[in-house]
């Protein structure tokens, strides 16, 4: 089957999912709680996929993703609440500012490797959080009131665009360069790939979509507080990517859906939720360190075109 045909069939599938859920919502067949869970799920998928670009594709271990989520959330909230802009513009501005923050953080810290990079990103995320904590304009520790504007439509198209851009990026020349950096940075360097450039690009793309997720997150919960963007949030996002499989886009999407559903049902027992989370994390790392999907995509499981060895 031609690549474009596969693409159009996925597009159709996505639109069908959207239309069915939207129909159910407008027919009042989905409770408010489930609707909220769907939006949270979409936010988590966006976060997981945006971190997947940084960790899974480029192999740069960042544990400060919540910082960019915070930038997106606060900037978009300022745009709608203080400057009276429409929500779509606010999402875009939030995302662009988050991407700039990603560049600002990425250019110095991506010279570091492995553990040091992880700790540096954690440090930057905490600094971002502390900065918001100390700005009275956005409410300081008390948080900032935000009107509820996120709907299933915004959340779904956010996810749709995120996955579309990132899967196309991965398949492009630039994406392959990023994968080369992940596999062996020195070898990639020797092949003439500008490793720093691609690491920073991947970081900025990841931050951009984390900013989109942040904008939708901010307009979903009525209030945003700096405490919501601590490193526990970063670890949450990391868990999606790691469980799904480092390097598998569909894996991180599945993990995000699955874990969001679990944590919604365990909402009343936050300790149990965290104990289960951490046990799963340890066990997966001990017995299946590549994550549930490894680097495979779910589409690899049913290849349309490969039946009978005839490929067109």
């Amino acid at each position: 089957m031609k690549k474009s045909k596969v693409f159009w069939s996925y597009l159709a599938l996505a639109l069908v999912i959207y239309a069915v859920v939207q129909f159910l919502i407008s027919g009042n067949m989905v409770s408010y709680a489930s609707q909220n869970m769907l939006i949270t799920m979409c936010i988590n998928i966006m976060l997981a996929v945006s971190l997947h670009v940084v960790i899974g594709i480029t192999g740069q271990f960042s544990i400060g993703h919540a910082g960019f989520l915070a930038v997106g959330a606060y900037i978009s909230a300022i745009c709608t609440m203080k400057l009276g802009m429409p929500f779509v513009t606010a999402i875009l501005i939030g995302a662009v500012v988050a991407a700039l923050a990603g560049l600002l953080v990425g250019i110095p810290s991506l010279r570091l490797k492995g553990d040091y990079l992880a700790i540096a990103t954690l440090g930057f995320a905490e600094i971002i959080r502390i900065v918001f904590l100390n700005i009275d304009y956005v409410g300081g520790a008390a948080g900032m009131q935000v009107t509820h504007q996120s709907t299933w439509t915004y959340a779904f198209f956010g996810v749709f665009i995120t996955i579309l851009v990132i899967s196309n990026f991965t398949k492009s020349r630039h994406g392959r360069a990023c994968i080369a950096v992940r596999e062996d940075e020195i070898a990639a360097d020797a092949m003439g790939i500008n490793t720093t450039y691609y690491k920073v690009i991947a970081f900025a793309i990841g931050s951009f979509f984390a900013g989109v997720a942040g904008a939708i997150y901010a307009h979903n919960f009525y209030i945003i507080q700096p405490t919501a963007f601590g490193f526990l949030k970063s670890f949450d996002i990391l868990i999606f990517v790691v469980l799904g499989g480092l390097g598998s886009l569909s894996g991180s999407v599945i993990a995000a859906i699955f874990l969001t559903a679990i944590s919604t049902y365990l909402q009343g027992f936050p300790e149990t939720r965290m104990i289960i989370y951490s046990l799963v994390l340890i066990l997966v790392m001990l017995y299946r360190p590549k994550g549930l999907m490894g680097t495979k995509e779910i589409t690899d499981l049913f290849k349309f075109g490969k039946k009978g060895g005839t490929r067109i």
Binding site: S278, L281, M285, L286
Partner: protein, 291 residues
């Protein structure tokens, strides 16, 4: 005199960071793992000390020794159960397991006793005495003397005993050490035991000094102790001590200047500056990556 006062406070705080940082730096030096669970061993030490003093009415020093012993055992169990299999795994897998162990310890404690803070019993009548116009509390003296004693003890263990020699050999080259007949597994466990015992002691001291402990108290001091270890040059024992003291003094000065909300940010700014300017730390040597 105000400034000398702050300096004393900073050194007290810094010596707690230094005690935790020693465990980080020893473990990193020997198996190249950022043991995120180390901050939680510190928390467990604080709680063991709390129970020993408040419930079982022990002497402070007995409680300190009990906390150190139990934390050493906990550290070895963590290493044997979670980290041993990952010695040849990727760094990311090891780091994520460490984060998992850390979350597991925190939330298991919360599960069994709730997240509410506990007030540490007063073990000393806080009496201040003045030296040249500087008020020094007995607690600061206790903290300083216990931490200096433990650091000297550690230096003695690492440089004068057989197990210390084995630890230095394993951290230099594990394979060669194995060929020389050193039991690498036991040496790594001993490193975890010593590091965790120091964290346990730091926990009890922290409790006595700040009088308020809770199950998530280990997270921030844990990360800051790691910053201290990086600042001094990770894997280098005197580096961790100096790094801890520097960090404690800087934080106290930032607070004293009236920016107490920015205190945590100061630690992270130090971390990022040191990583960018001199990633090998104050005492570190530059090592080039080999292909």
């Amino acid at each position: 005199m105000e400034w000398i006062q702050q300096l004393v406070n900073g050194i007290s705080l810094g010596s707690i960071y230094a005690l935790i940082a020693l465990g980080y730096t020893m473990v990193y030096g020997i198996i190249k793992l950022i043991n995120f669970a180390h901050g939680d061993v510190f928390m467990l030490g604080a709680f063991i000390g709390f129970f020993a003093i408040a419930r079982w009415e022990m002497n402070v020093f007995l409680a300190l020794i009990l906390a150190m012993a139990l934390c050493a055992i906990i550290g070895v169990i963590i290493e044997r159960v979670a980290y041993k299999r990952l010695r040849n795994a990727t760094r990311i897998a090891a780091l994520i397991t460490a984060i998992g162990v850390s979350l597991l310890i925190e939330y298991t404690v919360i599960f069994f006793r709730g997240a509410s803070p506990a007030a540490y019993p007063t073990v000393f009548e806080t009496s201040n005495f003045e030296i040249l116009g500087v008020k020094i509390s007995t607690q600061s003296i206790l903290i300083l003397s216990v931490s200096i004693f433990l650091m000297v003890l550690l230096q003695f263990i690492v440089h004068k005993t057989k197990i210390g020699k084995a630890m230095r050999a394993v951290s230099h080259d594990a394979d060669a050490a194995k060929l020389m007949g050193i039991n690498v597994d036991n040496t790594i466990s001993a490193t975890f035991a010593i590091g965790s015992a120091l964290a346990g002691a730091a926990g009890v001291i922290f409790g006595i000094y700040y009088t308020r402990i809770d199950p998530l108290m280990g997270v921030l001091p844990g990360i800051k102790a790691f910053i201290a270890a990086v600042l001094g040059g990770i894997g280098i024992i005197p580096g961790a001590m100096v790094g801890g003291l520097v960090l404690g003094v800087v934080e106290t000065i930032v607070s004293a200047l009236g920016y107490s909300l920015w205190r945590d940010a100061a630690a992270f700014v130090i971390l990022i500056l040191i990583l960018i300017i001199r990633p090998s730390g104050i005492f570190g040597k530059n090592a080039r990556e080999k292909v």
